[in-house]
Symmetry: D2
Subunit: 357 residues, 4 copies
């Protein structure tokens, strides 16, 4: 059934395949009167754009987004905002060799099992190209949230390599090809990924997304909890295998007195938390602290290393994928994760307003 949309009050629906004429989305439920121009979205798309370093796919896509509806005289009208990006650099012939083959770890097999009929070119609908529209829609969501909410992401692990959180520098994130917040490790990461790329292999990653400035009260128990919706949003990104909020899996090893954030009164009659183990969410509702989520991305399945696979005829085949691919798709997942955080928060801002005025 229909499952290509996300969100309740602020909802976006994406369409398009990797090698079709275009990809796009419809953003429905956006409040009216918000200043919105193409550049407001392009800035985020440019961060995700392929081909900006040797560490991402060499597909050359300008990813120029067009606003086709919902904006009049520079402001949103409250009607659906249609966004589209032309696909300009398809090389479908790259895929003819694997047209009837199932790559290990790829959705080839399951799409074929589910639908019988599939667009094999560039992964068709299962391609991470779809995530460009999440980033575009996320740009609209950021405008809904306003400038008081800051959403930033960083790569905290690439393969076996991790960052030293003591050296975390948000300003450094934009200055290296990895969205890495720890300048000291960038050189090592570059060498590491070069070696993996040259070996025709790929590697996984962990991304951390931090939203600051979101008000308390967002999230709807029991089945619309903020963290539950975040988990769905992040897990829906291609190749994601795990999601954490705050302490995440580390919370399992903790004792009650270490896991929970004590509170003290602040000077303005409010509350100050003495830590943020909970990642800004309690009982599925935002506390007002930073909302912190992490997600794990597995290595790209399209690699040059030969693997055993099967074709549609049920025959054993050797799979080598020669197209253009990211040696670490986790890198470009950073702006996608930010976008999903923005989309979930914008939706919940409106949902909260519906019930609680």
């Amino acid at each position: 059934m229909a499952s290509n949309g996300f969100g309740q009050t602020f909802r976006f629906t994406t369409w398009g395949e990797s090698h079709g004429p275009a990809i796009g989305c419809v953003v429905d439920g956006c409040p009216p009167g918000i200043a919105l121009a193409q550049d407001d979205l392009q800035v985020w798309l440019d961060r995700r754009r392929p081909g900006q370093s040797r560490f991402t796919t060499q597909r050359r896509e300008p990813d120029r987004v067009n606003i086709l509806s919902g904006v009049f005289e520079g402001r949103t009208t409250g009607t659906p905002i249609s966004l589209a990006i032309d696909n300009v650099d398809q090389r479908s012939r790259d895929y003819s060799k694997i047209a009837d083959r199932f790559r290990p770890g790829h959705a080839d097999y399951t799409y074929w099992k589910k639908y019988g009929h599939r667009d094999y070119r560039g992964g068709g609908r299962s391609s991470a190209r779809e995530t460009a529209m999440r980033v575009a829609a996320g740009g609209v969501a950021r405008k809904v949230l306003g400038s008081s909410v800051s959403i930033r992401g960083a790569l905290v692990q690439m393969g076996e390599k991790t960052v030293d959180r003591a050296r975390w520098d948000w300003d450094a994130v934009g200055d290296n090809p990895f969205f890495c917040p720890d300048t000291a490790v960038v050189g090592d990461w570059a060498d590491y990924l070069d070696s993996i790329r040259k070996a025709g292999s790929s590697v996984g990653a962990v991304i951390e997304i931090v939203a600051e400035g979101a008000p308390s009260g967002l999230g709807e128990p029991i089945y619309g909890k903020l963290d539950s919706d975040l988990a769905a949003a992040l897990m829906s990104i291609n190749a994601v295998k795990g999601v954490e909020i705050g302490d995440g899996f580390a919370a399992a090893a903790k004792r009650g007195e270490d896991a929970h954030d004590e509170m003290v009164p602040d000077a303005e009659g409010g509350i100050t938390f003495l830590s943020n183990n909970t990642g800004g969410v309690l009982g599925g509702i935002s506390t007002g602290q930073a909302v912190v989520a992490r997600f794990a991305v597995k290595p790209t399945s399209s690699i040059l290393v030969p693997r055993r696979g099967v074709n549609e005829a049920g025959e054993a085949v050797e799979i080598v994928t020669t197209g253009r691919h990211d040696p670490c798709v986790g890198i470009r997942a950073v702006p996608v994760g930010e976008a999903m955080m923005a989309l979930v928060l914008a939706d919940h801002l409106l949902r909260h307003r519906a019930q609680n005025g």
Copy 2:
């Protein structure tokens, strides 16, 4: 807005507070003609029932479920199935001391911020008592899935203690108070949790859920992916802070040739996977292998160890929670996780049928 229901085609909506007269749910969209009796649900509720060992809360609830509609002459009619359980052992006076206080790590604070007005008795709506209805609804979901689908869960980590997966024994799970699949560690776990309980503290846990026998093809890209819905389902359980599918976060450290499951033809013209790193889901669609999910539960926030908190008047207070609580809520989360897996799979079985016949 309305957020107390889960599922699209097979949908359940829960209601009720910890200390209200009853809790219940409505299961909507169940196929007709399925044999269903009270005992089919009670068997699962009995596994989750409190007070069965010294390691769970001493609240004495028989948790007897009643079927109030949707079943006629022993079979479902396709109309909504209403299920309810009376609350019989509330001790609301236990909570008068914390009525105006916010426990660190508890939803007290966020419910108050969001709604202004809250039922503080036993956590009200935020109590894990709600999960009894998930287990009841999950019992219906299991009947929809049929006997060819097996869904089992186990505790694989309790605080700092883990199991040895080489000793995994599903048959052992029901024979110890921890749903632990490794008999060799049970004695140690008992001593460990006793010490935590006596210290008035609590500890977290990791639960693993395995569904075997589910067909390939379940799950709907892009925003109704099987793993995305599982992540939402499991993250919605009280105190959950992380969710993994298959390799989960471990996938981040892997190389492409190690992370993906090779395939070979099998004797019946089908496919055999040589491993299951992916946890039974590729591109958001089930592969036909076992669906494997894990989730992390933080320690109970209601503990005897004094903690710094704040009350509704904004004053600093010391918080000591003296009610009856689970030293490790993760234990009773095992049947809840199984239920959520069953509910997600049943929903997707019907969703798949809608689109793909």
Copy 3:
């Protein structure tokens, strides 16, 4: 799939059969802090209650509604409100004669075709008894709308008999067994319905619902228009075959200059409409004028007049329905129609707030 709920932000889900132990509903998304007691709902249920005159079914149901959750210390908490009514006067044996037969004009046949398995007692789920829960939920909706919104209904046609709108008197509606706004026709209507009742027959009706005081701006183009949702809401009531807004079908015969409501400035800088042909809705959004809807109810299909039917075995049978039935179900549809109007408006009040603040 799941279809027993209505509404997006303010949503209710009903359950229960005519001859089961109880009927109920869950109201989800209600704003917190609203004073709500059993009597606030009972007053509306008492208007719909059967057996209050010789013109409605003689089934004796006190229809006492219980609030099982979502209200604490007299006020809503923002969590789901569970409402239930016990069934106390089932006479299931009345139905044994028609257990395997399909009454002409009744849902017997289609439920059997759709589900295979059905509760034939009193019509099971297809019984108008379900509408009691709409009235209860509608009572909650009225509290959400507040005292500035007035929702009233009246019977404007019963069989061949109509009212004279020039004599319309809202105060008279509660003083006769027909909810008739025209006192002058009540005696004639009583004689007419007596003759129909004594003949073992039944008759249809038209009900008009008027909501005054709803603000302008409610309703969401294109597929959540206020009139579109009202049409769905009213058409979902048992036996309804038509719905109109404002001029309704009469608009088809009009010219443009006669059909549309001219506007002039009012003294407060606002707008006064010179007529209300549109029934308070333009482009799917409320104008601020009275929202006016009408719906047509067909005659009860359960009658004593013998009719040709078929049984489950496919044999021709004569159908005579001897149970207790309303000679004009349209009468008791008046409070049901009011409730649906309240439910739609409350939902749209919150939906509007979500998007437009």
Copy 4:
């Protein structure tokens, strides 16, 4: 909140304004493997296309639909189908005169009240131009339903003029500019509408839609009834003020023995209904007979006859609308009504399959 989509399993979401660069829609949930080409949709769009006679607006739009995704090698893939039509003949300057004015009977006023900010050119989002995408999506729905289901519509009333149902001829419907099924009245209708057009006025209409060949069992009690969804679907069409199923409002005047359709066994062990007063729906579920719906369209509000209105400054103004408009929008509503019938039936075909296999 998001309200520009319709349908549950088979869902379409539309976007675009009258004078934007394009209009479009996303069809989500379509089964895979269905042969689909541009011409399959164009044939229906051509029936709705403006400027084909002097009785419709003279705006010249080729309404050429493009399929941008979801179809590969001529067959649907089960992924979202994106459809778009370029707007080529906007004359936005026509609207500068009424940019700040509210036309009586038009959505100008309510969009302004709801959103504050609106695209006034050609009615913006409230323009009936949006219905082109319903027709395109309806073309996909017809393919889902298959050739055994026939959906046809006709104009049965235009202003004061009605058809003689005894002369009903489906074959005649395509041979006159009114979609009129009664050839004998066409000349009179032409003269009548000419006189209205020349007077700068407009007139309403009633459209009847008949779906034959739909199986029994479609429709989901209680709030997803087939007739309830049809009522919402048809009422959502621009200018619609009333919806009927089968006998519709005429049922109110009938007695039970006249209103209901008797049944007799047929030769194949099935059932033959002796009439179709119910319009093919009982208890919200299709009977297998023809599904019959009618809807009333009010006259176009954009007319040359001067009317009293108000502008955004709150001043009294005289409104004369000089743009290009349909003297009877009901005519072009015929293919739109057919499309909505197809969309509702396709959705329910899949919904039924989800629950009932």
